[in-house]
């Protein structure tokens, strides 16, 4: 947890918060952003739980999550760490744990406490002793193989019960290898070795989990990184049946919170990089292009290469890179354009800001230009002053404590888990290229004398298709991570999307936008449902913010109207459900010519559009079916 900053007055702040009558959640989010040990984690959680008194906080970054921890040993000490780690991300999680040893009964019994809890997410947190029981060193290879088969089929049965009966997202933690070895380095040759059994089971889990749509919580990886002793204390296991020791609780909570956040589309999306002494050694404005330390030949220079290579790898898998530097633009750009040892090039940076304004203002501008929320940004800067300034002005931006040796920075960023991701789509892989195309579009926009000329010059084509198997990963990803341009913020699983595909009364479409600069990928999802009296109800309408201002909304409506008419619709009805992040679409239907027919106190509204007499708005977008 070394990436989290110490807050020197933490205890005092917690006590002040405990005495105040203010709403506790927003303050608690800030306190959760500090480096916390197990005791502080418990204290913060106790205060939040007491104040919420069973209710939910009014404003969070995502819908509340109901998480059931299922296992066969003690998990009670992990609830607070999970809740605090999600609190850190402004996500509210309620937790549940099965009665001791009763996870199978609770899964299967319709009257169980688990069913009563109505979880939406289940985490199977088995201690390795439970899954390895019965395995012993005198087993033959066949017996050991049969035992492995028994365990994997037990796991798959549990997953399916949680997924199909409880309709839950399923998480499975990998096993801690806490068994002392009997042979040594070649333990795998002893079929009945418990340690080797754990290794085989962990090796089997990724394929099994992928086949069942289950996400893994890589406890084995964390223990390999930190050492088993950091995670497991045999004395505490005997005393309290705690496989993960309380001291590791906060780190465990982080692992869970990252996956929960990733599923909700709340992982960080963009790494904002300082330049001098962050990407290279020295100050380019003072030392000149030749004077900065980067590249092979010096340990420090190689350390900075490693930082750049890690950033480049992140970009290749879909993380957006930006630069925020106090520098003259020409000086800041020079290494990217002319230094032979730079790994990162201008084309890797989606948004480049170098000037003398304060960094908080620049970071705001970066978020605005990239059309992503400030809470999607991670800011990497070697300068403690700048870090504190940004933390103070923009508490929603993640600002890691940076090791003063660049050699340690890649592991620090990885361990902080900001960019946790549950899958990779073609869009992820193409993202940097897309931001480059956006730059080209911006240049065209600057050149075009008026908006119409610009839009016409883009030669846009909208290509749509109904939900299909091939697109399902991207559809689910968009449904779960789009927060801003999202009318109802309803989240659906792959199973839900499959149900929509099978439903005669449901309309699910995915829309791709192409233009002369390239393919923008799937940029819109609309789900409609046929209802009585000639109504098609728009259950979901979401779009990628990066294509806004290009008539895509109007073109999408034209398409939806045409498809709804094919379903026999005479009217479209659409809801706006406000969240903390989707104010930009409050008047979406109004702007498209709908009439508001109902408004609620919380800002929600319902609008309708009579299709009789609907005239498609003219756009510069050609629409075709894929």
């Amino acid at each position: 947890m070394r990436w989290l900053p110490e807050q020197p007055e933490w205890r005092a702040h917690l006590r002040t918060l405990a005495r105040s009558t203010d709403e506790v959640w927003p303050q608690a989010v800030r306190l959760a952003g500090a480096r916390l040990d197990f005791t502080r984690t418990n204290a913060l959680d106790a205060l939040v739980q007491e104040r919420l008194a069973g209710g939910a906080p009014p404003v969070t970054a995502a819908s509340p999550v109901r998480l059931a921890l299922l296992g066969s040993a003690t998990l009670a000490h992990l609830h607070a760490p999970v809740r605090v780690a999600t609190l850190r991300r402004n996500i509210f999680v309620s937790t549940y744990e099965n009665a001791y040893g009763q996870y199978q009964q609770e899964l299967l019994n319709p009257a169980s406490g688990l069913r009563g809890f109505r979880p939406d997410t289940v985490l199977f947190a088995f201690d390795s002793g439970h899954l390895v029981r019965g395995v012993h060193a005198a087993m033959s290879p066949d017996e050991a193989a049969a035992a492995l088969e028994d365990v994997t089929s037990l796991l798959v049965r549990c997953w399916r019960a949680a997924r199909d009966e409880l309709k839950c997202v399923v998480l499975q933690q990998t096993l801690l290898d806490s068994f002392p070895r009997l042979m040594g380095g070649n333990e795998h040759r002893l079929a009945g070795s418990r340690s080797a059994f754990v290794a085989r089971l962990n090796a089997a889990l990724p394929a099994l989990a992928d086949a069942e749509g289950v996400h893994l919580l890589a406890l084995d990886h964390a223990a390999a990184r930190d050492g088993l002793a950091a995670w497991h204390d045999p004395a505490l296991w005997h005393r309290a049946k705690q496989e993960v020791s309380p001291a590791a609780g906060p780190a465990y909570g982080e692992l869970v919170a990252r996956i929960v956040a990733a599923r909700l589309g709340r992982s960080y999306k963009c790494l904002v990089l300082d330049l001098d002494n962050t990407l290279w050694g020295g100050v380019v404005g003072d030392d000149g292009l030749e004077g900065i330390v980067i590249g092979q030949g010096s340990p420090l220079g190689e350390g900075f290469v490693a930082v750049q290579e890690y950033a480049k790898e992140l970009a290749r898998r879909g993380v957006i890179l930006a630069v925020c530097s106090k520098n003259d633009m020409a000086n800041a750009l020079a290494p990217f354009e002319r230094h032979p040892d730079m790994v990162l090039r201008r084309g890797d940076i989606a948004c480049f800001r170098a000037n003398w304004d304060d960094k908080a203002a620049n970071i705001r501008a970066i978020a605005a230009e990239l059309n992503i929320g400030l809470d999607s940004l991670v800011f990497l800067d070697d300068n403690p002053f700048e870090r504190e300034l940004v933390r103070g002005a923009l508490p929603m931006v993640a600002v890691p404590e940076v090791a003063d040796d660049p050699a340690l920075v890649p592991a620090l960023l990885a361990d902080a888990g900001y960019f946790e991701s549950l899958g990779i789509t073609d869009e992820d892989l193409a993202r940097t290229a897309q931001y480059q195309q956006n730059l080209a579009r911006e240049t065209l926009r600057a050149d075009a004398t008026d908006l119409d000329a610009y839009l016409r010059g883009l030669e846009m084509r909208m290509v749509w298709r109904r939900f299909d198997r091939v697109g399902v990963a991207r559809i689910v990803q968009l449904i779960n991570k789009t927060n801003q341009f999202n009318l109802t913020t309803r989240r659906y699983t792959e199973a839900d999307v499959a149900a929509i595909m099978a439903d005669q009364d449901a309309l699910g479409i995915q829309i791709r936008l192409l233009d002369r600069f390239g393919d923008n990928g799937i940029i819109a999802i609309v789900i409609g449902r046929r209802q009585p009296k000639g109504i098609v109800r728009l259950d979901t309408w979401l779009m990628s913010c990066r294509v806004l201002g290009r008539q895509v909304e109007a073109a999408t409506l034209n398409l939806v109207v045409a498809l709804a008419r094919q379903m026999g619709a005479r009217r479209l009805v659409g809801d706006y459900i406000p969240t903390s992040r989707n104010a930009m679409v409050r008047d979406h239907y109004d702007r498209l010519g709908f009439t508001v027919i109902a408004r609620a106190d919380d800002g929600a509204s319902r609008s309708e559009l009579e299709l009789d007499g609907f005239v498609p708005a003219p756009t510069f977008i050609a629409i075709s079916e894929d």
Binding site: F38, T39, A240
Partner: protein, 86 residues
């Protein structure tokens, strides 16, 4: 019971730990204080105290030592002996 200077330091640190663990500001630790005197001091809180003590004093308490603890005085003695040994 008179404390040595070392024991005073240990009691001061334990008071902070107990205040944090029980979310209070007013814990007054005496050698005789035990779980039955403090609301909420259950087996989980006991482990939390042990984990905090181990972290604060950079020591490791073994199973026998933990089992033998009857009151705060016992804990302070065990810590004192371990810290002295380095």
């Amino acid at each position: 019971m008179p404390h040595s200077a070392d024991q005073d330091k240990i009691y001061a640190a334990l008071t902070e730990i107990f205040n944090d663990v029980f979310m209070r500001d007013d814990m007054r630790l005496t050698p005789e204080l035990s779980a039955k005197d403090v609301p909420g001091w259950d087996s989980f809180k006991q482990i939390e105290i042990m984990v905090s003590v181990e972290e604060r004093f950079a020591i490791k308490l073994n199973t026998r030592e933990i089992d033998s603890l009857k009151c705060v005085g016992d804990l302070a003695c065990v810590i004192g002996a371990k810290v002295a040994k380095g």
